[in-house]
């Protein structure tokens, strides 16, 4: 049998290489045991590395979406409560108006005061803020949207009550005849419906301090999923409610009550208030639907997040049992390799001479 010689250098080199490899593996698995993470995540993830990077990015976005939903829920519930307050205040007023139509009743002189009370409640609700941010002023969140009825607005140098006078309306006020009633109603319509938005006597210049234009608040609650919710105080529904309330709050009821203008004027106020309230309920309904959408989105996001976290864990976290097993196996191998190296170093012929 041919016995092949093995060179001493070759043996040393093999031992050295083996020990180097074992030590390197030992350092790797030691790090994994200590950190509970794979030592080279990209190497172990392989073709799923991009999926891992994208999953981490998505988790970050989901966390922001969840925070956005939480903020939306706070704002939406406050807005809903405010709209409910407005609804209740207006319902009280409407029931008093109804008892005074088509003819004034004994208590008609109390109608303006009731209207002013409702106006205060409406303005307080619309001037609601959360964290210093007005909820009903559109994008101009740094100002309260509704002007105090008795305070002069610097933009127009008029107060809302100033506008509701004959001089500023350019119509008989209080109206005392049916034709006067038609004129007064048309003039007040012009104030509130945006026809003459640039004039000082308009709703935009005197009554409302918020931003013009689209009045919804934006909430990013998912990739490509945006909620535009809420309402600003210059929304047509609220304008109608405010118009009806102002019509009753500022008119000289003693003069109006006994005139032929009474029925047309009060009916017009009631019509605007009730139309506005009906539209406001639609807005509340939409808000409620959006709250439900947000809740569903939240649930979906939480499920997605849990799945993504599992993906990340699966790709990054070292299985502690497996790592410990490998650790022990390599430890045994190293032990054996060191023992073999020491014993082999003693097996020299010169040691026996």
């Amino acid at each position: 049998m041919l016995t092949k010689s093995v060179s001493t250098f070759s043996l040393y080199r093999q031992q050295q290489t083996n020990l180097q490899r074992l030590n390197s593996d030992f350092a790797t698995v030691n790090q994994e045991v200590a950190s509970q993470r794979k030592s080279d995540i990209s190497a172990s993830a392989g073709p799923r590395t991009q999926e891992l990077v994208e999953s981490r990015g998505e988790i970050g976005r989901i966390d922001v979406f969840l925070a956005n939903i939480e903020t939306f829920e706070s704002r939406a519930s406050l807005m809903d409560a405010a709209l409910t307050d407005i609804d209740e205040a207006v319902q009280d007023l409407m029931s008093q108006i109804v008892t005074n139509t088509p003819e004034p009743s004994v208590g008609v002189s109390g109608l303006p005061e009731a209207a002013r009370g409702a106006l205060d409640a409406i303005n307080n609700a619309l001037n609601l803020s959360l964290g210093g941010r007005s909820l009903f002023s559109g994008a101009q969140i740094d100002v309260a949207p509704m002007q105090n009825p008795e305070t002069v607005n610097p933009a127009s140098l008029l107060s809302p009550y100033d506008v509701m006078t004959a001089a500023n309306l350019g119509a008989p006020y209080p109206p005392l005849t049916a034709p006067d009633a038609a004129l007064a109603i048309a003039a007040i319509d012009d104030v509130f419906d945006g026809t003459n938005a640039a004039t000082p006597q308009s709703f935009e210049q005197t009554f409302y301090n918020g931003a013009a234009g689209p009045s919804t608040i934006n909430a990013e609650i998912g990739d490509g999923l945006q909620l535009d919710y809420g309402i600003a105080a210059d929304d047509p529904a609220l304008r109608q409610v405010l118009q009806g309330v102002y019509m009753l709050a500022t008119v000289d009821m003693d003069a109006l009550a006994g005139s032929p203008a009474y029925t047309d004027y009060v009916d017009a106020a009631l019509a605007r208030v009730s139309a506005g309230v009906a539209d406001l309920r639609d807005v509340q309904g939409r808000l409620g639907f959006q709250q439900q959408q947000a809740a569903e989105a939240k649930e979906g996001l939480q499920t997605s997040r849990a799945f993504l976290v599992n993906t990340v864990v699966d790709l990054e976290v070292a299985d502690p049992v497996e790592a410990q097993t490998r650790f022990e196996a390599i430890e045994r191998q190293l032990d054996a390799a060191y023992a073999a190296t020491v014993r082999a170093s003693r097996l020299r012929l010169t040691n026996y001479l």
Binding site: Q50, R61, I141, E220
Partner: protein, 485 residues
């Protein structure tokens, strides 16, 4: 057989033992010398007129398997080349980081998008706006870091090529001298084992740098060529020529102004596309890093920068035509020159209060002259849409030709890590193959100390026996002289 013949035989035995003792001690002394080929002795009996007259020994170098050496040098070249590629890629992936380290361009872009998403909820908040600015600065910094790492890897590769060329030229010079000595010493019948060992060591040095083939002429002269056929040594040593560059900025390429590789004027540039372009070795690996791998990674970084600049220019409704958006090309709008854009990208000073800008422009648009309503989010939503909108990227970057900004950034990270891991796996495989062959070479040609020690014991006994013969013959001769004297 006479006493004289006996004495002669014993003397030859003593000489043989001495020679072989010297050989064994030489072997033992060089047992751990890399490249040393064990000497072995062979004895043959001497006869004079049909009578035994002792022993003659010849010491020679153990036969070397030239095919094994060829395979080893092939694997050495392959290993050196792929190991260098892995090293070059790790320079860049150190900057990129692992997916969990959050240091990559993808992580920076994700953080920027999250900052904008937070801004939609509180667009009026100066601290949230500052968060967006900070995230934008981090994103720019990461892209610039990528370019710096890529440029550093290219410059290191250029220096490595230069060092490798010097190494090869030095080794070829030594080989030329060794060739002359081997030829002359062999012609004079002298032992050239040490010279052959040294020649093999020089060939090993060269094969790490560039893949070679070699053969030996009958007279012992070595001829060396590259694996692709360019002559490196045939009588006179050829000279490799390479001019190192002081810098390898983006856009620099082979010939403009980066040097190629020639040998005695003939082009053997690995990345030159020529028939004799060197295909293996550390030099080839360094050329691949300098001229192919890093330029593609540079293009990836440049394309990402372009995507970011153009997205924010396109999505910003406040910008007049030709104006720079949130991200700029050296302070201005995108110039149309993508090369090196990763180093030129910056954040527009118009949004930075420390540079005379205003944070609210992150909400209202970089071109906004007056501050808009604090609750306005339309522009912010437009910026966010830009992260997920599909756009075209240069296919030469080696990634998808159409992707979102977010997706492209992720694929850069994945591609870089994948290349690094692939190169390391190739290097590890090559290392295993090289180690296996080298172990076999060492076993075939190396020295076993125990065997040499045992042999010495035998030689000691043989020497003692021959000395005894000399002593005995001497006594016999003395006896004879005493009786006839």
């Amino acid at each position: 057989m006479s006493l004289t013949l006996a004495l002669q035989s014993a003397k030859s035995g003593l000489i043989t033992s001495q020679n072989q003792t010297a050989m064994a001690s030489d072997n033992i002394a060089n047992a751990l010398t890399p490249g040393y080929v064990a000497r072995e002795g062979s004895n043959s009996s001497v006869t004079v007129n049909g009578f035994g007259a002792g022993v003659a020994s010849t010491i020679s170098r153990r036969p070397v398997d030239e095919f094994l050496l060829r395979d080893i040098r092939f694997e050495a070249s392959t290993l050196a080349g792929v190991a260098y590629e892995a090293e070059g890629l790790s320079v860049v992936t150190q900057v990129t980081g692992q997916p969990d380290e959050g240091r990559s361009v993808a992580a920076a872009l994700a953080a920027l998008e999250e900052a904008f998403l937070q801004l939609t909820t509180t667009p009026e908040s100066a601290s949230v706006q500052q968060g967006v600015l900070d995230a934008a600065n981090v994103a720019v910094g990461r892209i610039q870091d990528q370019q710096a790492a890529i440029q550093s890897a290219r410059e290191q590769a250029d220096q490595t090529i230069f060092a490798g060329v010097n190494e090869v030229n030095d080794a070829l010079g030594r080989l030329e001298e060794l060739n002359e000595r081997v030829v002359s010493e062999a012609a004079a019948g002298r032992d050239v084992s040490a010279l052959l060992d040294e020649r093999d060591r020089q060939l090993d040095r060269i094969s790490e740098q560039i893949g070679i083939r070699s053969y030996t002429r009958e007279n012992g002269e070595l001829v060396v060529t590259t694996r692709e056929g360019a002559t490196l040594l045939d009588g006179a040593a050829a000279r490799l020529e390479f001019t190192p560059s002081s810098a390898a900025p983006p856009g620099s390429a082979l010939g403009a102004p980066l040097s190629g590789l020639t040998v005695n004027g003939a082009d053997i540039t690995p990345t030159g596309g020529g028939a004799q372009g060197a295909g293996s070795g550390k030099i080839a690996g360094a050329f691949a890093v300098r001229d192919e791998i890093m330029p593609q990674l540079q293009l990836q970084a440049d394309e990402l920068a372009r995507g970011l600049i153009e997205t924010f220019e396109g999505q910003d409704a406040s910008l007049p035509p030709g104006a720079a958006g949130l991200f700029t090309d050296a302070g201005a709008a995108y110039s149309g020159v993508v090369t090196g854009l990763a180093g030129r990208i910056g954040v527009n000073a118009a949004v930075d209060p420390s540079a005379g800008g205003a944070l609210w422009r992150l909400r209202d648009g970089v071109g906004a002259v007056v501050q808009g309503p604090p609750g306005e989010t339309a522009q912010v939503s437009a910026f966010i849409d830009g992260f997920s909108a599909a756009q075209a990227f240069d296919p030469a970057a080696g990634l998808a030709g159409t992707d979102s900004l977010r997706g492209f950034a992720s694929s850069i990270v994945a591609d870089q890590q994948s290349r690094r891991v692939g190169a390391e796996d190739k290097a590890e495989s090559a290392s295993f193959r090289f180690d296996a062959l080298e172990t076999r070479r060492l076993s075939d040609n190396g020295v076993n100390i125990d065997e040499e020690t045992a042999f010495l014991l035998q030689l000691e006994q043989a020497y003692a026996a021959n000395a005894q013969v000399v002593q005995t013959v001497n006594r016999m001769l003395d006896d004879l002289l005493a009786r006839i004297g």
